[in-house]
């Protein structure tokens, strides 16, 4: 019994790490630019499709698919920034919801139009089976996703706090005019932020594709998870997204196992509301 619980918790942690990875891109643009990106889940979906195309056209696995998805999505991020975000950022929050929701529909149904509505899937053993040790069973694909997720979120955190690029980005986030006076170009910095955020999201998509099904509407399912993760962790806090992602992963698997899966999302939402009451700024957000 207790042994099953360990399996449940380990599974939850691995899943949580992936939640954290695809949420870190969202938290980055949300925190830096105060942009609510309703198309975020669809960025994950695009990453999954890139990985799938790489597999079907070139027979490449995650070694080829993941970096390519990162590159493609980073490009998409820059294009979206210059074509849309740069302008709606100046508008009210409602315009951002309007614009990014429209973008979500546009992306989702463009993919739908091209690939059709069928469920796709990568071959079961593309990353290499399942590890069993001490009675625990862990899928290699989930382990890979979890480990990369931890590394990338950690890397993002370092980038933001320890490099001059990070400082410049934060300076722009803080005060555009002041940053401009210091010789930093806000446009460039924000475009870079979008490239990083979308790239990380694409990477997450490519990794999730190895153990999840692929369908144009999958972004809806994942998008909501990302929103809750980011809000619980605190907008703009990459470590917050990591902790919140892990927490949500574990809570979901535990409550799914112990009290029934149909209530697991209720547990997460109630916990989230409870946190908001005591810490309106999220777990790691600052007041």
């Amino acid at each position: 019994m207790s042994f099953v619980l360990v399996q449940v918790i380990v599974g939850g942690l691995l899943l949580g790490a992936v939640y954290a990875l695809f949420s870190s891109g969202l938290t980055l643009v949300w925190g830096m630019m105060n942009i609510v990106n309703f198309a975020h889940g669809d960025f994950v979906m695009l990453g999954m499709y890139v990985a799938y195309v790489v597999y079907t056209l070139m027979g490449g696995g995650p070694i080829l698919g993941a970096p390519l998805a990162t590159l493609v999505l980073a490009t998409v991020g820059v294009v979206v920034y210059f074509a849309l975000i740069r302008d709606i950022m100046k508008g009210p929050m409602l315009a951002q919801i309007l614009g990014t929701f429209g973008l979500a529909l546009l992306l989702r149904y463009s993919v739908f139009w091209w690939f059709g509505a069928n469920f796709l899937s990568m071959p079961p053993n593309i990353v290499g089976g399942t590890y069993a040790f001490a009675g625990l069973r862990i899928e290699a694909s989930r382990l890979l996703a979890g480990v990369v997720a931890l590394l990338v979120t950690f890397g993002l955190h370092l980038l933001l706090t320890r490099t001059s690029l990070g400082s410049k980005m934060l300076a722009v986030a803080e005060d555009q005019t002041a940053a401009q006076l210091m010789g930093i170009r806000p446009d460039t910095m924000q475009a870079i932020a979008w490239a990083i955020a979308a790239g990380a999201t694409g990477l997450a998509g490519a990794l999730i594709a190895n153990f999840f099904y692929i369908v144009p509407t999958v972004g809806e399912t994942l998008g909501i998870v990302a929103f809750v993760t980011v809000s619980l962790g605190g907008f703009g806090s990459v470590p917050g997204a990591l902790v919140a992602g892990l927490l949500i992963g574990v809570i979901e698997s535990l409550s799914g196992y112990l009290i029934g899966a149909v209530y697991k999302d209720i547990v997460v939402y109630v916990l989230f509301l409870f946190f908001l009451w005591f810490r309106p700024q999220g777990l790691m957000g600052k007041m």
Binding site: W30, N34, V36, F38, A83, L84, I88, K90, G91, P92, M93, L94, A95, Q96, I97, L98, G99, F101, G102, L103, A104, L105, L106, L107, R108, Y109, S110, F112, W113, A117, T161, R162, S164, G166, S167, K168, L170, A171, A173, E174, I224, F227, V228, S231, F235, V262, Y263, D265, I266, Y269, F272, L273, L276, W277, P280, Q281, G282, G285, K286, M287
Partner: protein, 343 residues
């Protein structure tokens, strides 16, 4: 004077529409425009005037829809009798949700409303008495006129028109009362409004409750027209987003903004679905999404702001981000430490 003429033209068009375009589908399209205009106008009170972007308004919509269908399915009464119950339920819920969440700023408030709406949807989905996932149906064959189950959309159209006019009158009255004045002040800067003695929390809560009551009426009318409600169509988050988009597209915080948004988006959605949906290629939503993106990109203040002389720059300055001002202090320190590592 010009305003009055415009108003009369709009009123004349609204009254004459179903008589001029009299095919059943066109009449229904008109009724749907009015229905969504009611919901979006109700949302506008708290989302537009008070600047509190609620993305969970569907929970009040669902209160009305479930109360109307429940009064028929559970008690054999006319769905109309469910409306007061729905209002009471929505206002009570608004008070319970509003007190803790309205103190949250910006995105946190939006996220909290999403979480509440999703929680309610999940609870209803798992509640046998409320029909669980199967939902509740209204009277399929009307017993009498009070079942509001008509073949033609004409009665719905004029009923909705009356409710819309009432909603707009309430909004207009509120906007020009002391409450509207407070709300505008709060939207511009809550801190400043508070320091000048405006009862910010209470005003926001009243606006929220008023908006909830009207949204619940919209939900009840919706369920009566379609004769059915289930968790997805009565409490799904996409309905909130749809309502919000209509208000934002037409012009949030403007009296007629939501009506304009509904008058554009509802026909766009239904007609593009009628033309393109049957092809099964998803083109409906490609078109729909592209149009929304373009409007957000080129007219971020909503379409109506083109005409009302509210220039773009004015909307820019009225952009409130209390979350940003609140966090600015610590953010500075974060930037400072960051800059310390810069070469």
């Amino acid at each position: 004077m010009r305003r009055l003429i415009w108003l009369l033209v709009v009123a004349a068009v609204a009254i004459a529409y179903p008589l001029l375009l009299s095919s059943p589908f066109q009449q229904r399209l008109g009724a749907l425009v009015l229905l969504y205009a009611i919901a979006a106008s109700a949302w506008n009170i708290v989302g537009g005037y008070a600047g509190q972007v609620s993305v969970g308004h569907v929970v009040f919509f669902g209160c009305g829809a479930y109360a109307a269908m429940g009064s028929y399915a559970k008690f054999g009464l006319s769905p109309l009798l469910g409306i007061p119950g729905g209002i009471v339920l929505a206002v009570g819920l608004a008070a319970i949700i509003g007190v803790p969440t309205l103190r949250l700023s910006g995105h946190y408030f939006s996220m909290a409303t999403i979480a509440v709406a999703e929680t309610v949807r999940l609870i209803v989905t798992n509640t046998e008495w409320l029909g669980a996932a199967v939902g509740l149906s209204g009277p399929t064959v009307p017993r009498n006129i009070f079942d509001l189950s008509f073949l033609s959309s004409l009665p719905y159209y004029y009923l909705f028109l009356v409710v819309l006019v009432i909603t707009l009158l309430i909004t207009w009255w509120m906007a020009n009362s002391r409450m509207g004045f407070y709300l505008r002040a709060i939207k511009d800067s809550e801190r400043a409004a508070r320091s000048l003695g405006a009862p910010a929390s209470r005003t926001k809560l009243y606006a929220y409750m008023l908006s909830a009551a009207l949204t619940s009426v919209a939900g009840a009318l919706y369920a009566m027209m379609f004769g059915f409600v289930d968790p997805e169509s009565g409490l799904g988050i996409l309905i909130s987003v749809k309502i919000l988009i209509m208000a934002a597209l037409g012009g949030a915080g403007l009296l007629f903004g939501p009506l304009v948004g509904a008058a554009i988006l509802v026909p766009l959605e239904e007609i593009s679905n009628s033309w393109l949906g049957g092809k099964g290629a998803g083109l409906t939503f490609v078109v729909y999404g592209a149009i929304i993106v373009l409007i957000a990109r080129f007219q971020p203040g909503g379409l109506l702001s083109l005409f009302t002389g509210r220039s773009k720059s004015k909307i820019d300055t009225s952009k409130t981000d209390t979350s940003k001002t609140d966090t600015s202090k610590t953010d500075t320190s974060k930037t400072d430490t960051g800059a310390g590592h810069a070469p």
